[in-house]
Amino acid sequence: MPTVEYAGRSLQVNEQGFIVRPEEWDEDVARFLARTAEGIEELTSDHWAIIRFIREHYLAHRRAPMVRAVCRTTGLHLKRIYQLFPSGPAKGACKVAGLPKPDGCV
């Protein structure tokens, strides 16, 4: 399995760059993933609102929130979310939020 080196740590990622062990995530990892995987140099408060909601939802339910829920909760239109995370909420934002790649809905 591929790994990425970050600040002396070795993070396992899948072939699409999603980290394998979500418990390894912290805000510094988010900044690192944003920069290397999404080309985002600085995470703004809007970025963090999305990341924190996705993260909290994952920790509560062990799955990513629905995209409509991200829009509804953050109050951001989908277009704005794509501006913030160019590869979209399901790929980019979930990756930066340290979620693993989901396998199914049950």
Partner: protein, 308 residues
């Protein structure tokens, strides 16, 4: 428990027929083995109609969660509509009449699903307002059982869907407009799908059964791309990268809107109204983008479509 009241003997016979073909335990078992609501309803209805379509059913996985977990129409509606299209093709072959019948069956699917569950969108159905307190969410998922609710819903809805599809396809034929009748069937053909697959996709038109929900052509594109992946020996995943890529191209084209009624600016009044829209070139850009995105020979997607 409230007793079920039948309007007449014919309805009682129909209910008995549904129960003999579709059992609650069988539906839940299918859900557990197939893994998604979309594939479950597709599979259960196909078997009730005695025509299993294994690859087609598997390819419907990404439609669960309201299209790749976006929260739009419940996967049970997508799966039931594809199964209804398959039955429409068996009964009426190909062409405008079969496509019109598939759309009318899809209308009944959407209406009956809404009647049973109050809502049609996955986000609302799961009963979770994401702004709910942590205690409310914990109660729902741990005590009430988020997924168990979906199992129950599938078990309750499968016989209803079977009855509605049977009824819609057994009614006196309405006059079908000239082709093209369905945006999603049109897209399916553009993507190289067979006549059967085009009729199967037909009911997705106008946001499924002209209901104005999330774009049926988008769902058709994701489904057909899934079948192509299976043909090529690749896996179809619930949250596949190719499905998400298709969504990225789609929203770029629609100014980040998903729902048919928002994109078009209105709901369609009838199959003929929708056919007129297509004849006048409505949604042609979306169909171009989706057809190009889904074609292995045109990997550039939007760019390829824009050059046309």
């Amino acid at each position: 428990m409230r007793a079920v009241e039948f309007r007449d003997d014919q309805e009682r016979d129909a209910m008995s027929n549904e129960r003999s073909r579709i059992s609650s335990m069988g539906t839940v078992g299918t859900f557990l083995t197939r893994g998604t609501c979309s594939q479950t309803l597709f599979c259960v209805l196909d078997r009730a109609f005695e025509h299993p379509l294994r690859a087609e059913e598997r390819a419907s996985d990404p439609l669960a969660g309201g299209i790749v977990q976006h929260g739009y129409q419940c996967g049970m509606i997508w799966g039931s509509t594809l199964a209804a299209g398959a039955e429409a093709h068996r009964r009426f072959g190909t062409g405008p009449q079969a496509e019109a019948r598939a759309i009318l069956a899809a209308q009944r699917i959407v209406e009956s699903f809404r009647a049973q569950n109050d809502e049609t969108n996955c986000l609302e159905i799961t009963g979770i307002d994401e702004s709910s307190s942590a205690l409310q969410m914990t109660t729902h998922f741990l005590l009430k059982g988020g997924t168990i609710d979906c199992f129950r819903m599938a078990a309750r809805y499968a016989p209803v869907a079977f009855r509605e599809v049977n009824t819609a396809l057994s009614e006196e034929p309405a006059e079908a407009p000239a082709a093209p009748v369905s945006c999603s069937a049109m897209l399916a053909r553009r993507m190289g799908a067979s006549d059967m697959h085009a009729v199967m996709a037909a009911g997705l038109a106008g946001g499924i059964g002209l209901s104005g929900g999330a774009c049926g052509a988008l769902g058709a594109a994701i489904w057909i791309a899934g079948m192509k992946a299976l043909e090529e020996g690749r896996k179809v995943e619930f949250k596949s990268k190719s499905a998400l890529d298709t969504i990225d191209r789609f929203v770029e084209c629609t100014d980040y809107e998903f729902e048919c009624s928002t994109i078009v600016g209105r709901k369609f009044e009838s199959v003929a109204d929708h056919a007129r829209h297509l004849c006048q070139g409505g949604c042609s850009k979306i169909i171009d983008v989706l057809a190009a995105t889904g074609s292995p020979s045109s990997p550039r997607g939007v760019e390829a479509a824009q050059e046309k």
